[in-house]
Structures are given as C-alpha cells and as structure tokens.
Subunit: 219 residues, 2 copies
Amino acid sequence: MTVTTSRNGVASERIASALRDSILRGEHPPGTRILQEDVAADFGASRLPVREAFRILEADGLITLVANTGAWVSRLSLAECEEIYQLRERIEPLLLGYSIQNLTASQLDRLDELAATMQTLRDPEEFLRLDREFHLLSYAGAHTAILGDTVRRLWNTTQHYRRAYTRLLDPDGNRIVHDEHHMLVQALRLRDADDGERILLGHIRRTRLELARHPALFD
Amino acid sequence: MTVTTSRNGVASERIASALRDSILRGEHPPGTRILQEDVAADFGASRLPVREAFRILEADGLITLVANTGAWVSRLSLAECEEIYQLRERIEPLLLGYSIQNLTASQLDRLDELAATMQTLRDPEEFLRLDREFHLLSYAGAHTAILGDTVRRLWNTTQHYRRAYTRLLDPDGNRIVHDEHHMLVQALRLRDADDGERILLGHIRRTRLELARHPALFD
DNA sequence: TTGATCGCGATTGGCTCCAATGTAGCTGAA
DNA sequence: TTCAGCTACATTGGAGCCAATCGCGATCAA
C-alpha cells in the first residue's frame, strides 16, 4: 500500500500529506510550478492551509519556495544527489542495526513476498511502490523517531531520480537489485546485523555510483 | 557573532529566524508553551505569519505543534538525544572531510582565537555562543547544502541539553574539551582529514557517553 | 531587428473577523 | 471529600478581502 492520505490532524497536515504523496507518485515532475489557488481548489479549502502545507513540504525538501514568486517542485543537482547517497551510506546501516532485532515473522514474510513480486514485475510505477514499501518495512523494527524521519526525508527527496533511473535500468542492473533484496531479507531473518549492514551499504554505494554515470538526469 | 535575525525574506521567515535564535539562547526552556498571539505582538504582525513560522520551527524540531491546542518548545528523551549523537558521529566526520580542504587562513586563525578564548571564559552563555561559532566555522569550508543543513538541525535540537551539560561540567571535563578544540584546529591547519575526523569522532562520542551519565537532564 | 522601459495582470503576502476546539473551573450528587 | 458532567473562556483553525510584489508582454527608440 502507498502512504494513504492521513485523516488525522488539521487541514494543513492533510493537504501536505496528500500533496507529498502525489509528488512522490510523479504527478508533479521536478521544476513544475505549484499554485496555491489550484491546490486550495483541489481540496476545497482556502489558500491559508495550503500556505502552511507548503511550509511543511519545503522543510521536507520536496518543494522550493521563493518569496512573492511561487512554489516549485524541487530539483536536485548531481552533487546534491551524491550528498544524499553518501549520507544514506552512513545512516541507514545504523538504522538497520536498530531494526533487525525487532522485525516480526509476518514482517519478514512480507519482505520475502515483496522481493519475489518485484522480480517478476514489468510496470516501473508498481515497482517503485513496492520498493518504497520494502524500504520502509525493513526499518519498521527500529523504534526511532529522529533517525527514521531523517532517512525518510532523504529517501523522498531522491524519489524522482529513482523513478527516472528505474526506467532506464538494463536487465542486468535489475538482476543485481533483485539479488540484493533477497540477500538482505535472508540476513534480516538470521538477525545477522553485520551481514545486513554490509549488503545495504553495498546496495546504496552501487546505486550512487550508477546515478553518477547518468548526469543527464540532473540539473 | 550570534546568528543575526535575517532581514531577507518575508515576515514568516524573519519571525522563524528570530524565534529560533531566542529559543537557542535559552529564553524559552524545553516544555515552555509559546502562544501565537504573544509572538505576533512581539513582532508587530498578525498571527498568520506566526503560524507559518511555527511550521518552519516544527520542521526544525525546535517546537512541537498539537492541533487545536498549541505549540511547545520541544523536549528530548535521553534515547532521542543518544540517537542524535549517534547520527552526528556518522555524519560530521564526513562533513569535516569536505570542509578541511577549503578553509581559508583567516578562518583557521579565527578558530585558533575561539579555542584560546573559550579556555579562559567563565560565563557559560558566552562559552555556548563561541562554541556554536566554532562548530559552524569548522564546517564553513564544506560547500554542501543538504549535509550542512542536516548537521545544523541536529545541533540545534540538542542546544538546550548542551547548555544544561555545560553548566555542570567539572574543571577536568573542561580541560578535555579545550584540548580537543586545539587538537582539531591543528589537524585542520595540516589538512589532515584522517586525524581531524578521528578527533571529532572522539569528541562527539565522549560527549554522548557523558550525557548518558546525566539522565536527570531529560524527560 | 534588437534592446530597454513601462505598465498591466497574475499571484503571493498579510490582516481582520468568525468558527471550532480544547481546557479549566465550577457545580452538583454520590 | 471526590469525581463526573457541564459551562464558559482562552486559544487555535479557517475564510474572504485587500495590499504588495513579481513577471511578462507591449511599446518605443536606436
């Protein structure tokens, strides 16, 4: 399941959540302008909660606000994308270490199922949805607020580029990704933190290096 | 120099910036409630830009918003503080590696000066100001947006606890801190990234362990 | 034809008023 | 005395209106 639009909270948070999902689904590519009035009309609200939602998404790094001018879906330079992947190389193994001790049997089964399903998928958008669920679920055992939010923010910021990259992955690249999924789940099952962190680090590093080979995807 | 209230941007950003500084200066201890109307009156504005400023500070982790209820200066649990320090152990050496190549001679001189001044200071608030400047300046050579912002956010979130901790540091603890300052500047001067990262890592780790010995500072 | 300048329209920023919600204090009965 | 329920107030959330600002296009001169 994708992240559903939360019914909790006030309008600004609901709008931010829904807008975040639609940006992550690729409905607004990087560089697209977003008008307060359009969003307000979509949600049947006034512009005020939309302005607050924009502030939330700006802090998430998903949109860029310019005073008196407007809001645009954020673009990344290749350098910024590399920064994010270097950060993830440092942080995610730590988060996985927290998570690996507490994953339940049903969560591990679901991870297996996701890895198997992704192997046979043809649709890139469906792949991205499952990949996101795999990613979030593998960290679900870590009962951390700050660490988890930090990783989630970094992941979201690069979603557009993950999409573009996924669409041009050759069959061999796909095979590597699928192997990594299966190996990671196996390490999680064995509660082998060292092995899990090693596989994860390798995956992130490999992706970072491959993205660097496609500078045309960036500004 | 403290972080000055930016004159750039619109009211909500100016208010957020000024409020951030005053929280970091300790004028609103953790758990303090902040009313929209009070802030609006302080800045001669209506509540609207204040509401946007609150959203910005919430994303910074400095205040906590509860719908229909109010805003409070964030508190940290010991576990969250440990999370932050573990993150910093992973991230800051990376940031220092970027910075060490580009620090100018005048920046290095200022770092020397700061280290020496802090050694003779008696006033904790003045120490915190200089410590913050030292921290920011040592990373000034890193021309990174995302990495730098992430570290700045983590640093800000723990400022209250750094304050409380500084006030109860014994003379021996102070001596260690001062030694670390001087050693770090020396490594920076020699452009010795490995040594700089080692010293920085040791400093953060030591502080994390010492904070864990004072659980009474936290919730 | 090209460049700069002026003005208009589109869009965002901000204020005031009103509605909704949560909290605290009071009243009453067990 | 204590606890439950109710009422009133303080505070936040939201809508509409007006002002400020920016970008774009038209106009004019070189």
